[in-house]
Assembly symmetry: C2
Amino acid sequence: MEVVARSHQDAIICSSPSAVLLLTGYWPVIGASVVVFTADGEVHVVLPEDEVDLAGRTSGASLIPYQPSTLVALTSPIEALANPLRLLLAKLGLGKAAIGIEVDEGMQPFSYASCVHFRSSLADLLQQLAPEAHYESCDAALEQMEARKTAKELESIRRASDIAAAGFEHAAETIQVGRREAEVAAAVQAAFQASTKAQGVERSYGFFFCMSGPNTATASAAYARTRQRQIEAGDLVMIHANTCADGYWTDITRTYVAGVAPSDRQAAMRSAIFEARKAALEAIGAGVPACDVDRAARDVMRAHSFGEAFKHSTGHGVGFAAANANALPRIHPHSPDVLEGGMTFNVEPAAYFDGYGGMRHCDVVTVTSEGATVFTDF
Amino acid sequence: MEVVARSHQDAIICSSPSAVLLLTGYWPVIGASVVVFTADGEVHVVLPEDEVDLAGRTSGASLIPYQPSTLVALTSPIEALANPLRLLLAKLGLGKAAIGIEVDEGMQPFSYASCVHFRSSLADLLQQLAPEAHYESCDAALEQMEARKTAKELESIRRASDIAAAGFEHAAETIQVGRREAEVAAAVQAAFQASTKAQGVERSYGFFFCMSGPNTATASAAYARTRQRQIEAGDLVMIHANTCADGYWTDITRTYVAGVAPSDRQAAMRSAIFEARKAALEAIGAGVPACDVDRAARDVMRAHSFGEAFKHSTGHGVGFAAANANALPRIHPHSPDVLEGGMTFNVEPAAYFDGYGGMRHCDVVTVTSEGATVFTDF
């Protein structure tokens, strides 16, 4: 109800899987589910019939199944859900309501190998079903609500972090001179995926990437990429992962040195990064401007002459999107965000040198009354 | 240019990764790339700076980099690309053009752990940058163009199928009584991911799922799901995979019996499914109505008393989306589609019994002048 109150609307109608998860506790699989959330606190989801069982186990919302496709007729999801949605809008008396919908760009994490996106078609359908209703963006309200995690959401992110550890625990032994990045990523991912730590999680997914040597320098990009490169002695080797438990995501990176003891340069990078991490963690607290946390880390990196090499912000909101630099709070030099209890983000001090390599240590942390709790303390 | 000719528009402006791939050969990673494709045959892509190297290796399009976020300012992709896109539209003289954009719902496969979706924001930006242009949907033209694969696209789908074999080759030995579905999926996925068959592919991804016993009955759903269930002797065990090589996807399923020889019931299911597969493959050819291929398979299943158990259509287009029941050609009882050379789809005869289990054999095939070529002949 908070989201509706924030947006000053009579109802919110959303379809992106992370928004449906936020509003209902149910994480859609193929993205063809539509939630209608009213200011009275009614929550209804029009969803594919084959997701009803999953939804019922995680959500108390009223579930209205439809069949996206049948052998009797060729339909697309939007065609198939039009009638149940029409009946629902009528039942809820939303014909002339102020309705919040998703309009702005968003970052959507993986929910299945292939996922429905309604683009403009859901807004067009609503316009057609309830032409006298008034539609406006609810994106800002959703963004705010996503930023401050509830106790249940924090528990799920902690769970996703714990399962991720099952992969990272195998990283050091798996990284061996002569192995290809693809082999290392496969082994770490398999350790994660086979783990019994995922017991009780309906859907546990993770993406583990391995980058080595000069390839680690490219890890400053908005994405990671595993290649077929063979690891050499003395290489920096980075394992980056985004893992999730039932829709709640982590963002974790660890960096290793292959085969030999770290060189002086690598040791200097490591000590700067860990000092920056410590400074950032100590700066975190409710009421603290997010830019101060960035500054705490960045000042340390600069003092160690790694200012230029620390190419990105210190962090960004984590939980609903695997990796989204614009998720609140943005731990960025120019961030206007102020930390609040329950806000959850990554802290990722790093140094990258083109042609040589990069090192990053990325943790998931949450703001508590005492300061910061690290979920990825492994 | 075919797509522009088909749509009778002066230009097409798209951002979904599969459309950018179709039009340029470059498969965007985080989904924040916009292609402008003109009727004169000019192809320009406004793309994140950190994807320029990747794009340059696979596409001859003119590349216009932008920085989605920097340390100097907090911006979102749509804000950051507005100016380069404005300059490009002016340079191309598209101020009053008829421009095709993506409007309808679509099925977007995984391109990264988290992916930008512009929703209505790209259309809104275009409206603002070129208010006198005329915008209409180019979805149908793209859908048609995606359906008939070029020689290069077919080669990529064959490549993705070959890499998938690296996983399936390990399936039979990996499926053992007492193992959990999650362990089996992890092992098969790791074999795929570590394979040297992916040499030369920039981005090779795959999702392998394992379902066993009664869980295989739920595989008739629009999605697969691996659980923690322990495999028992005599269980049907299904391995389902969607794999991709640089944006070109496969859709493959194999079913095994755990630990013992197939029961009479399982043997009957298997022989019906393979007879249906053979009938479907024999029916395939250029000029053949897609519904005839469905009927060929369905008649066999009915003759074996598995008509009711064959709950879904015989197939659907494959290549640009991992799994999209609405991709052309739809091998469905009511499909209006007619097969053409280069059309590529799955053939997936199956039988599902609630509480007992299901069996499916899903191949990727393409239409040739001689009939059908199976890419997944393993």
